[in-house]
Each structure stands twice: as structure tokens, then as C-alpha cells.
Assembly symmetry: C2
Homo-oligomer: 216 residues x 2
Amino acid sequence: MPRISEPTVRRLSQYYRVLREVEAEGRRLVSSHRLGEREGITSAQVRKDLSMFGSFGRRGLGYNVAHLRAEICAILGLDRRWRVAVVGAGHIGSALVAYRGFAELGFDIVAIYDRDPDRIGRRLGELEVEDVGVLPRVAPGTYDMGVIATPLRAAQDVADLLVAAGVRGILNFAPRVLQVPESVTVRTMDMAVEFESLSFELSRDRSRRRRNRDGA
Amino acid sequence: MPRISEPTVRRLSQYYRVLREVEAEGRRLVSSHRLGEREGITSAQVRKDLSMFGSFGRRGLGYNVAHLRAEICAILGLDRRWRVAVVGAGHIGSALVAYRGFAELGFDIVAIYDRDPDRIGRRLGELEVEDVGVLPRVAPGTYDMGVIATPLRAAQDVADLLVAAGVRGILNFAPRVLQVPESVTVRTMDMAVEFESLSFELSRDRSRRRRNRDGA
């Protein structure tokens, strides 16, 4: 299989979501149009993405839902369960523990840590907040992934702890770049960047309108 | 100015972050290397991005920090303040209200709404949770942007309310695509997609290692 780029992986996630819906509707076939329409992905792009790993729809019929779903499931690594530890039992950490959607996809949040004595021992859903001080003593392989939901200043230390605990993937909510070994993958959820992307678009609209008005 | 692509806007956000740090350190000049290094952006890419809107570093000296910061600030629309309304006073909404970093960038969260009677009237920082039922009656232009931090099933209704209230940008935390008029920009923070991007990478590692082992 060729190297799959990150944008392609994100599109596969979207197709997978549509496939789950279509399967729930009891349909056996799905068109490239339906797979892409909600995200505004063209049918041509859908077909290109899917042909890359050898899946071809039948002209005029579409793709076999169950087959394609299983295929994308395997590519995305969703054909197994992942054990996730969250560090930081504040608002974001609590939101993650409360949301059931991740477990449906195979991501089990199995532990939550904090360093605040007021939070340690508190129950969050089925979990009890543990002292982050014990994280260095968990057996390697206990967690596949870690989530950093701490204040900015603690983020790098927590990343180091998670790496030492053997996680190979980190979802980071702190708006900073983390230093990790090359064998560890980090994805950062950066809300500030999203806000700035919005203000960029809104400012562009404004200056475009001003130009149009001045030119009229 | 040429059309700026979304990945470029995201890189500008990163440069802007570095520029604020470098300015806080009291430096007058910054190299393309420093601007890109944390995000792993090459110096060549930095220079290309910055030349696109007419900013050129001086060979061997670098870019003027104050000048470049002001320029990117204006491009990203951060030379003004933005009024943001949050809908959903659960974990995510509370996290947004509690975080001061957005106001530093010019994004003022000025209202938070919910429909749960238990939450309405509760104080969150300096705000009081308001009944989402009054949102249709706010004057157009009261908010520039809206944040959707509600459960999945309410997301589209809330998007409709925000659009009716005149917002032109929406930051969406619900894992679904929203239907909005073309004049409204939506950015979605999709944690499931990020988890899947991690599981993809971790699975790829695993199969690569297996291949290497089998080949050895």
C-alpha cells in the first residue's frame, strides 16, 4: 500500500463515519457521491482515495458498504481496542471521560490522572481520578495512548511521563509543541488556531466587501 | 494579496505564536529557522509563506519581529476584538469560558447559553449562563462568532440559531457536519478524527515493524 498522507487519513475517517450511518440505515451499497457530500469532497476524490488501496466501486452501483467499512476499519486501526489514559481531570479531561462516542470507535478511556489533591480520588463516571505521581510506576504497555488535558505549563512534563509509561500516541490539548521521541505520534487540538482561522476568514470577507463597495 | 490556503493560515498562526514569544524575550530580529523549527516547518517554507505577502527577511539578519508580528496580526484579523457566544455550558463550554488565552488573542467570550434549567443562571467566571431560548431575540451583530459545545443531536438547531443571530463564524465541537449558508464559516474540532489519526499511525508502526521482522 502506498504511503497515505494525513489529509487522506482524515478523509477516510469521514468516509468511515458515513459508512457506519449507511450501514445503520440497512443499505448494502453506497455511492462515492454520498461518501463525500457532507464534507464537500468530490466523487472523483473519493474514488481516487479508495482506489489507492484497491477498493473499486461498481459503475452505477457504488461500493459494498460492509466490505468498504471493514477495509477502512482495518486501515485506520479500528479493528482492535485502544487503551487511553487522560492526564488532567479539569473540564476537558472530564468531557473526554463523559463522552461515550470514543468507546464506540474502540478508544477506551481506562484511567484519568491529576496532581491536584482535591481532584485525586474523585469519581468521574466509572473512573476514579488517580495521582499522576503513580504514572511513572505503571507497567509499560498499560496504555496505548495518552491525552494531555493539563494547563500549558505542565504539558511537556506530562508528555515525558506518558512517553516513559510507553504510550505511542498522544492527543494534546495544550497549545504548544511537545518534544517527544520519533516513535511517538502527537496530534494537537489547538483551539486558538481554529479561532484564528475563523478571524482570518471573517476579516477576508470584510475586506472583500469593502473592496467591492469601493469599486462599485 | 494572493488567495491564502488554509494550511498557510495555520502556519501563520504558528509563526504568530513564535513572534509573540520572541517579542516577550525582547528580541528585535528572528530567523526563518526559529519561526518554523517547533512545528518542523522548513526555513524555505517559512520564507515562501512570508514572501507571499511581501515580507522579506534580510539575509543573515532575519525578520523584524515587531513589523512581522503586526503584519501577521492584521492578516489573521487579530487587530480587532471578536465577540464570541458559547452555546452549551457543559464541560467543553466551561473549559472555554475558564481559559484566558483566547482573550489575549482578541477573542472575548461574552455570553454562554444552555437549555438545561439546572444550568441557566449559574455563574461561570464572570458570565451567567443564559437560556438559549432568548438567543433568537439578540440584536444581529451582537456576536461575531459562536461556539457549539452541545450534544450531537442539538448541534444543527444551535447552528441555525447562531446563524439567525448573525454570527459569521462557528467553532463546532459536535462530531457532525453542519449545514450553514455560504457566508458563514465553520471550523470543526473533531476529537474522534484525531484519535483515528493516532490509531492509524500506531497501526502503521505495528505493521511496519512486523514487515521488518519478517524480512530480517
